[in-house]
Structures are given as C-alpha cells and as structure tokens.
Symmetry: C2
Subunit: 237 residues, 2 copies
C-alpha cells in the first residue's frame, strides 16, 4: 500500500499555490504556513468579508470567486479600489493602522483562505522568502494603484473602458480562463464607480465598442473581438 504524503497540507496541493502567498516556498515551508490558516471558507455573493473600522485580525487570499473592495467617504460617496480574483490578497490596507479602511464584498459565491496577521508576521520573520514575497505583494498593489490613478486622472471614458477590459482579459488568462470570453461579475455601476464614470456612460461605451466591432455584449457576457484595436483605444484619443 502506498503511504499518503502530506495529506495535511492544503496549500501544498492547491492549484493556485504559485499565484498566491506561498509562491516560491518549499513544501516544508508551505506546510508550516498551512497550520496557521483556515482554508476555503465560503463567502456568499453580496456578503462582506470585512468592513471599514473592523480591527485587522487576518489577511485573506481568494481561493475561488471574486470580490470588490471599496472605501467610503464621510459624505456617503464610495470608491471601488479594486476587483480581486483568485490568488489575490485582501486586507493589505488594514496593516497601516490595524483597522480595515475598506469593505470587501463577494461578487459571487466565493471561498477564501484566512491567515491571522499576528501569525503571519511571525512566519515572515522566520522565512525570509515569505518576507520577500510579501514585500513584493504590497509593492505590486502600489503599482496597480498608481496605474489606476493614471487611468482616473488622465484617460477619457473610452480609454478607461478599453483599459479595463484588457486588464480583466489578462487576469482571466493568467488563471487559465478564456482571455476573450469575459463573464463580468460586477454591475455597470460598479465598473463606473471603479473607473470614475457613471453607469450610463459605461453602458453607452460598451454599446459603441460593440457597434464598432471591437467587442460583443450580451449583458455581463462580453467577448473581445478585436483586441488589438481595443488596445489602440487606450493609447490614443
């Protein structure tokens, strides 16, 4: 009889291991991290994983599904700061003052892996590779945010929409999903909020792109038809 190896390691056998926090770690290291985590907790569509003001207890990695994160202004306005897909880490903005400053809402029925932040910092000091990864994770978030600032600050509506679709396409592709058949999980209003546009503008521009043969639109199912042309929209008025 063959002896089962590492039955206990959930991360070790996870299909997204190399696109998640344990990327590049040894099996032994992953096994250690594993012990501190809660794996694949279900979150129903529309549920909040955490909200503004909650004390930081843990970081979350998306196992399956997707989320939106948003911050609230005192006058009631909100800004969606990102749409997160599998392998992406949520809660990073809470490290700053040990309280969440954003809400994280599931866009579909999802599962997340949870690691207490205290444990995480301990593991970090024991595994320099984990520390290195985490610095990169945080830095990538900053780069991503800066790119969104460029989009929000200087792009026109069509350019924003094209950039958004291309970005989603690339991220789906990295997850072995189709790069051209996009199933959007967010509303037109969410897209607009994220891009600094009104929902009507989002709708109009999707229709226009469809008229021009760049994409086809059936509700939230969008097919990229001419990705090259779509890309050219993002770099020229």
């Amino acid at each position: 009889m063959v002896k089962p190896i590492e039955l206990k390691s959930v991360c070790g056998c996870c299909t997204i291991r190399e696109r998640c926090l344990p990327a590049g770690l040894s099996d032994e290291e992953v096994l250690v991290i594993d012990q501190y985590m809660e794996h694949r907790l279900p979150v129903k569509k529309g549920e909040l994983l955490y909200s503004q003001g909650d004390p930081l207890e843990a970081l979350f990695a998306i196992s399956t599904g997707s989320f939106k994160t948003l911050i609230l202004h005192e006058d009631g306005r909100s800004q969606i700061t990102g749409f997160q897909l599998s392998g992406e880490i949520m809660g990073l903005d809470a490290i700053s003052n040990e309280r969440h400053v954003s809400d994280a809402m599931a866009l579909e029925d999802s599962t997340v892996c949870k690691i207490p932040y205290d444990s995480f910092e301990e593991l970090e000091s024991e595994m320099s590779r984990l520390q290195h990864n985490f610095n990169k994770t945080l830095s990538s978030e900053i780069v991503k945010d800066h790119n969104l600032m460029l989009l929000l600050g200087s792009m026109r509506a069509e350019e924003k929409m094209a950039a958004f679709l291309i970005n989603l396409s690339q991220r789906f592709h990295a997850r072995q999903q189709s790069a051209s058949e996009l199933v959007l999980r967010m509303t037109r209003e969410d897209m607009g909020n994220y891009l600094g546009l009104k929902l009507e503008t989002v709708s109009r521009i999707l229709s226009r792109f469809a008229d021009e043969g760049l994409i086809s639109v059936q509700g939230r199912h969008i097919t990229l038809i001419d990705e090259k042309k779509l890309h050219s929209v993002t770099i020229s008025a």
Copy 2:
C-alpha cells in the same frame, strides 16, 4: 572633557528619526541600520533621483526638501502619484519587479538618505520591529493611494483642491511647519496633473477660494484663512 557618545550614528541624532524608517527602533538597532546607509545626499531642484526602468538598487528617505513621483504612459501622458516630504520613503513601487516604474524629481534642493534594498531586506529579517514598520509603511502608501483614487474618481474640482490644501496643511503641521502658511513647491500644472485637472482650472479655483475668503494666494504662497469652511467644501457639492 566629555566623551562624545554615538558620534557615528547619523539617524540616531536625526530630528526626523521618529517620522522615518527607524521609528520605534532602539538606539542599538538604529546604529546598525546607520552603517548600511548613505546619509543626506544632496539632490538639486529638477534632478531625478531615479527614473522609470532603472533597476532597484536602494530605497530613499527624504531628509530635507520635497519630491514629486510620476508614472509615464506609453503615449506620453503622465500622472503624478504623489508629492513627498521629509521622512517619506521613495522607491517602494520598484520592489514589485525590481525596477523603478516611476520617476522621482526634486521640487527644490533636497537631501536624501539611501539604503541599498538588499541590505534592507537582510536587516528586516533580523529586526522584526523594522519588518513590522516596513509593512506599515507599505500599507500606508496603499491607503494614501486609495484615498487619491476616491478623489480622482468622484470629487469635483473644488473638492479636489480643498482636499489637496488640507492634506498639505496637515503634513506641514506634522513637520513643525505652519499649518496655515503654505509654501507650495510645485507648479499649478503639477497640482492639476496630480488632481486630474488642467492648470487653468487649478488657477481659477484658487482665485475663487480667495474671492470667497477661504484662502489668500500670492503665487505659490498660500494662506489658509478659513480652514473649517475649506473642509466643508470637501464633503459637499
């Protein structure tokens, strides 16, 4: 004769020590970090500390003066991602893929302290307090960026300008400078770029604020007169 103590520790005696990377570290720890740094390197107004594409060699802390950081889009557009003051760390976005993705330009004659990134990561694994601080530093940058997204995505021009002035005022105040007498080091165009506005709009709104008695404007010297009213501009149309 009195024996001088810790003559070698530059950070140890630095007036901004507690608002900089060594915040909260022991004198011994600071002394260690000190050995790896180059202190108070001068950077002339208009000079680039690093630019997009440069390999990440070091992180920089501003000792005196100020900088703007900006990213460039392939079509020539740019977005200023921040204005940095003393004690703030620059180069964080380069950790992600070990290359700078932004330019950092001195807005006035300035001095910076430089720490090689390799050394920094080693120090981090030896000093858990430093690691903790650095996680917070990176997270704060993310929070700051998210707030700018809210501004760029959903605020009107007047609200943006008011929020900008209040933010600068607070940061000057934290540095023992006047919270009401602001000496701006950036052009109207820089402000506009940062806020997603054109320079004419920046100029007009400053004039309007002055007409309404909220501020007074003499070129780049701006005095906040009615800060309460100014704040109310940021939370209501």
